[in-house]
């Protein structure tokens, strides 16, 4: 269950993950919560660009700069084999 936790920024395009923790100020966390990026939310990396990423949360797509992608810690979700 508890897989290794790593920052979002390290994941490759196409990876699915669940958010474990957001290491940021309250402002950033509240902002991300409003967008649906809070703990346990399922995200999929859609594309990466030098550390900046586009993630999918449900049907929404968000672009996040590297600084933010580094603060979001995720657990990789293995597809049921």
């Amino acid at each position: 269950m508890m897989n290794n936790v790593c920052p979002l920024v390290l994941l490759a395009a196409g990876t699915e993950a669940a958010i474990a923790e957001i290491r940021g100020g309250r402002g950033l966390r509240a902002r991300l919560s409003g967008m649906g990026l809070c703990s346990e939310a399922r995200v999929t990396i859609r594309s990466t660009n030098c550390g900046s990423v586009i993630v999918a949360v449900g049907d929404a797509r968000y672009a996040l700069s590297r600084g933010i992608a580094a603060k979001i810690l995720v657990r990789e979700v293995q597809e049921a084999a």
């Binding site: 395009a13 196409g14 309250r26 402002g27 950033l28 966390r29 509240a30 902002r31 991300l32 919560s33 409003g34 967008m35 649906g36 809070c38 703990s39 346990e40 939310a41 859609r46 594309s47 990466t48 660009n49 030098c50 900046s52 586009i54 999918a56 949360v57 449900g58 049907d59 929404a60 797509r61 968000y62 672009a63 996040l64 700069s65 590297r66 600084g67 933010i68």
Partner: protein, 665 residues
């Protein structure tokens, strides 16, 4: 007897609020496919079943904790103006996140109606949503709408009226669990002694916001009598943990509701939008694709517009000549021929180019590419001290700097926003296009497209260098990190894009009939007096003004006529051309043939002039909007003076260097 009720439209960014607003009120407010199109509240009216309904369209917001100026506009309206009903426009394809805002609105205790918008898109992919059950679970009326087709408008208004009439409304609020709820109760008790605050806002909402660390609520409470007790309570808990668990609870509550009301269709994998994003935002391909698109856009603007422009130019020259020679008395003929037709005509010539430019901008906005451009440019811009989001106002600035400066409101950091405002005038707006086309077309022939591209790039470079300069001197600090929603790509329909083009292009036409006409008439009057002087000669009033200013611009190589044109160009940049049209406006030659024959011009001087027009003091309208958005005469004055200095220096330097790289031109 008609009753008036006030309805506020709120919701997440880019869910179609303005489209719905236009459908409700018959307005034609600007819509686009990117988050943050609406940055100011817009009001419209509609009568329905004997009610006079005022509808206020608010900027989009993800939550009631505001981070940027446009979100503050939305939040303050709901909190302070207390509309009779809040209609939350909800994107039916993204219910989880949209309902998060609903949970916050419900805590605020305002009467709510949900417009389940883009319902057709949700249905098309196989989602079915049980609206009645959703309505029952939330205790909020839910109406199905499709803003683009105007579906559900009547039902939405009916529901809004019903909610107002019923006066008692219950919305279900989230249960945050025993520990948090106990703290909320303690906080609401503590807040009871702050009477004035308790009258204005529900105490439970204040307590929740305090736990979430909402800055403005903390300040509100901090100023009141409950401050000490509240501080005491808040310091006893781990605020971060509370806040995180509250967000989780909200989403849990929403998920529990959705489980009962929605059966989702398939489509969860990578969509066509995602495939496109792989390419368009690729680390290597992204920037080349962007530059290629820009290059194509300018080629198109210039090449496709050119034949139309030439036709209009020949036509107006003929008309001016005809008016001057056949309308009597002679002064009236001169007024109409030299003043009105030559002045306004010189500007109208470029109408085809302007319309093409606006069409291209409309396509960028409607397709969803604009948000990607901001993402691609985030890294390079961040290194230079600007957030990537600032790139959207920059691109809009190619159309007009006024809405572009307004669009800076969606930038979160105050310094970031200020820098974005200050550098925006360097983005070459459509009013400057006529100046380039005339001079580049006249003096650079086949290389005109390249010269124009150089000017646009120069504007961007000056903007970026200035941003870096401001960031490292007067506005120090880190630029805020980039978070932006990427809207789905949409193929723009011909109809909407043409409508966008028309609504902006017609403003240009109106400008030609007002401020440009005024400028032309002013120059004509000054060129004709004192009575008896040769029209437009150095002895006329305009000649005196020109000679007064000439020493300032003579080092660059500008004569008094150019000086006059630049002074009046402050009204609007097209007036630079209009004034020259009036000053040179005799004879049957076209304006470009006349200036080509004037020894006062050369390719180098033409290039300096274009550079100067690109960079110098923005027009009156832009100065006005800078004052409004910065709330400071100091920054407004700074912007004007800085622009003048930069324009002078670069026009001088580029004019000196021109002979070397123009070579045998």
């Amino acid at each position: 007897m008609t009753k008036t009720i006030r309805v506020a439209l709120t919701g997440n960014p880019n869910v179609g609020k303005t489209t719905l607003f236009n459908a409700l009120t018959g307005s034609r407010q600007h819509v686009g496919n990117w988050p943050g199109v609406t940055v100011e509240k817009k009001t419209g009216r509609v009568s329905h079943n004997g009610y006079d309904i005022e509808i206020v369209d608010l900027p989009g917001t993800y939550s009631l904790t505001a981070y940027s100026v446009d979100e503050i506009v939305a939040r303050d309206f709901i909190l302070k103006e207390k509309p009779d009903v809040v209609v939350q426009v909800v994107d039916a394809t993204n219910l989880e996140r949209n309902l998060y805002l609903t949970t916050q609105l419900a805590e605020l205790g305002v009467p709510i109606v949900i417009a389940l918008n883009m319902a057709d898109a949700a249905e098309a992919r196989g989602d079915t949503i049980d609206r009645e059950k959703l309505s029952a679970l939330l205790e909020i009326p839910v109406v199905r709408t499709v803003g683009t087709r105007g579906d559900g408008i009547g039902a939405l208004l009916d529901a809004a009226i019903r909610v107002v009439k019923s006066s008692s409304h219950h919305e279900r609020t989230v249960d945050y669990g025993s520990e948090v709820e106990a703290m909320i109760t303690s906080l609401t008790d503590a807040l009871a002694i702050d009477r004035s605050l308790s009258v204005q806002y529900p105490r439970r909402w204040l307590a929740v916001k305090l736990l979430e660390g909402d800055e403005s609520v903390l300040t509100l409470v901090g100023e009141g009598p409950a401050s000490a007790r509240v501080q005491n309570l808040l310091s006893s808990i781990d605020a971060g943990e509370y806040e995180a668990s509250m967000a989780d609870k909200r989403y849990e509550t929403i998920a529990a509701i959705l489980l009962q009301v929605r059966s989702a269709g398939a489509s969860e994998g990578a969509s066509a939008s995602d495939m496109l994003d792989r390419v368009i935002t690729d680390r290597y391909l992204g920037i080349p694709i962007f530059l290629a698109l820009m290059w194509g856009a300018f080629e198109l603007t210039f090449a496709v517009g050119a034949p139309f422009a030439t036709a209009i130019e020949v036509g107006t020259a003929w008309l001016a000549e005809f008016a001057t020679s056949s309308i009597g008395p002679a002064w009236l003929g001169s007024l109409i021929g030299d003043g009105v037709i030559s002045g306004v005509g010189a500007v109208l010539v470029f109408l085809p180019n302007i319309f093409i430019l606006f069409l291209i901008l409309a396509l960028l906005e409607d397709s969803g590419y604009l948000a990607r451009a901001a993402f691609i440019m985030d890294r390079p811009l961040h290194a230079l001290g600007l957030p990537g989001k600032a790139f959207i106002p920059m691109l809009i600035g190619f159309g007009c700097n006024v809405p572009a400066i307004m669009a800076s409101r969606s930038i979160e950091g105050e310094r970031d926003r200020l820098i974005s405002i200050l550098v925006n005038p360097f983005m070459s707006c459509s009013a400057r296009l006529p100046v380039y086309i005339l001079f580049a077309g006249t003096f650079f022939g086949t290389r005109a497209g390249g010269v124009m591209f150089f000017l646009y790039v120069l504007g961007i470079v000056v903007a970026i260098v200035s941003a870096k300069l401001f960031r490292s001197t007067i506005l120090k600090g880190e630029s805020s990190p980039f978070i932006m929603e990427m809207p789905p790509y949409r193929i723009p329909t011909a109809m909407t894009s043409l409508l966008h083009m028309w609504s902006r292009g017609s403003l240009y036409l109106r400008k030609a009939g007002t401020i440009i006409l005024l400028g032309a008439l002013l120059v004509w009057v000054l060129a004709s007096f004192p009575y008896g002087v040769e029209y437009g000669s150095e002895a006329s009033l305009v000649g005196s003004i020109g000679h007064l200013v000439e020493p300032l611009v003579a080092p660059i190589g500008f004569d008094w006529k150019i000086a006059v044109a630049l002074i009046f160009g402050f009204l609007a940049k097209e007036v630079v051309i209009g004034s020259l049209g009036v000053l040179y406006g005799t004879g049957e030659e076209t304006l470009s043939a006349t200036i080509l024959a004037d020894p006062g011009f050369s390719p180098a001087i033409a290039l300096s002039l274009m550079v100067f027009v690109l960079l110098y003091t923005p027009c009156v309208a832009v100065v006005g909007v800078i004052k409004k958005e910065t709330q400071s005469w100091k920054w407004t004055g700074f912007s004007v003076v800085y622009g003048l200095i930069v324009a002078w220096i670069l026009a001088f330097v580029i004019g000196r260097l021109a002979p070397f790289f123009l070579g045998g031109a």
